[in-house]
């Protein structure tokens, strides 16, 4: 995958980053999705879960690094071979936590289809849902590049 840049609209994205950062802190110590491994001993399970948590933390750190001081000046994020997969995994972790923490009220069907009446949501739920959509959009952009289904701008 060739590196590519995306320019984001700062006034829209910055408030959503507050939510991402808040959830990322919580995810340092707990799994986004509870891992299941039946029939194994406690030490093995602890090692398994510990390794998952280490990987999750690395992914989240990579995601947060996108939104550094430089980003706050220009609103540009860069994806490349090294960070792409870590970022889409981190987006998945945060989206799972968003559902658990803020979006249960919407129901799973609405989350799957994305059909939600924003005007009827509380401010906190609306912000969480916008964050959920924003992270999905980042994932889609990266996946399209990885899959080669989105041509770079100079080839359009």
């Amino acid at each position: 995958m060739k590196p590519f840049e995306v320019k984001l609209v700062l006034p829209v994205v910055v408030p959503l980053l507050e939510v991402v950062k808040e959830l990322a802190v919580g995810l340092k110590h707990s799994h986004a999705a509870t891992p299941e491994l039946p029939g194994t001993d406690v030490i093995f399970r602890d090692l398994w879960k510990g390794e998952l948590l280490l990987g999750q933390n690395e992914d989240l750190t990579t995601l947060l690094e996108l939104f550094d001081d430089e980003f706050l000046k220009e609103g540009v994020v860069t994806f490349d071979e090294d960070n792409a997969e870590l970022i889409i995994r981190a987006c998945s972790a945060v989206r799972l936590r968003l559902r658990e923490r803020y979006l249960q009220v919407l129901g799973d069907e609405a989350l799957e289809t994305g059909e939600v009446e924003l005007a009827k949501l509380t401010e906190a739920t609306r912000k969480a849902f916008m964050c959920y959509l924003f992270l999905a959009t980042l994932q889609e952009l990266i996946i399209q590049r990885i899959e080669g289904t989105l041509l770079p701008p100079d080839l359009h």
Partner: protein, 99 residues
């Protein structure tokens, strides 16, 4: 504090060993969060599936709630389950009772 001693009989040990041997299935369960395109990408990366196989398993997860994505020896099944969990898919291991 009372101490409980557990004695494992040879029969129990054999049963446990057989349980860990044999054929195991890696099953992915549906979740409402992960994107279809994300799940397809993960299946392709983890198992080396082609596009149509990856999509078939993704749709099975989506429509039927679960899909058996791999079966074989326990150790490799564990490795696949771990990798899928790294990608935040709900993956479980279960013994293949048909074998």
């Amino acid at each position: 504090m009372a101490e409980t001693k557990t004695h494992i009989t040879p029969g129990q040990r054999t049963a446990a060993k057989l349980q860990l041997e044999g054929v195991w299935r890696v099953v992915v369960l549906n979740d409402p969060v992960n994107l279809m395109s994300y799940v397809v990408l993960v299946f392709k990366k983890v198992f080396g599936f082609d596009e149509s196989t990856a999509r078939r398993h993704m749709l099975e997860v989506h429509e039927q709630g679960r899909s058996v994505v791999w079966s074989g020896l326990r150790e490799k099944a564990e490795a696949y389950t771990f990798t899928l969990q790294q990608w935040h898919l709900t993956a479980i291991l279960e013994p293949d009772e048909a074998v």
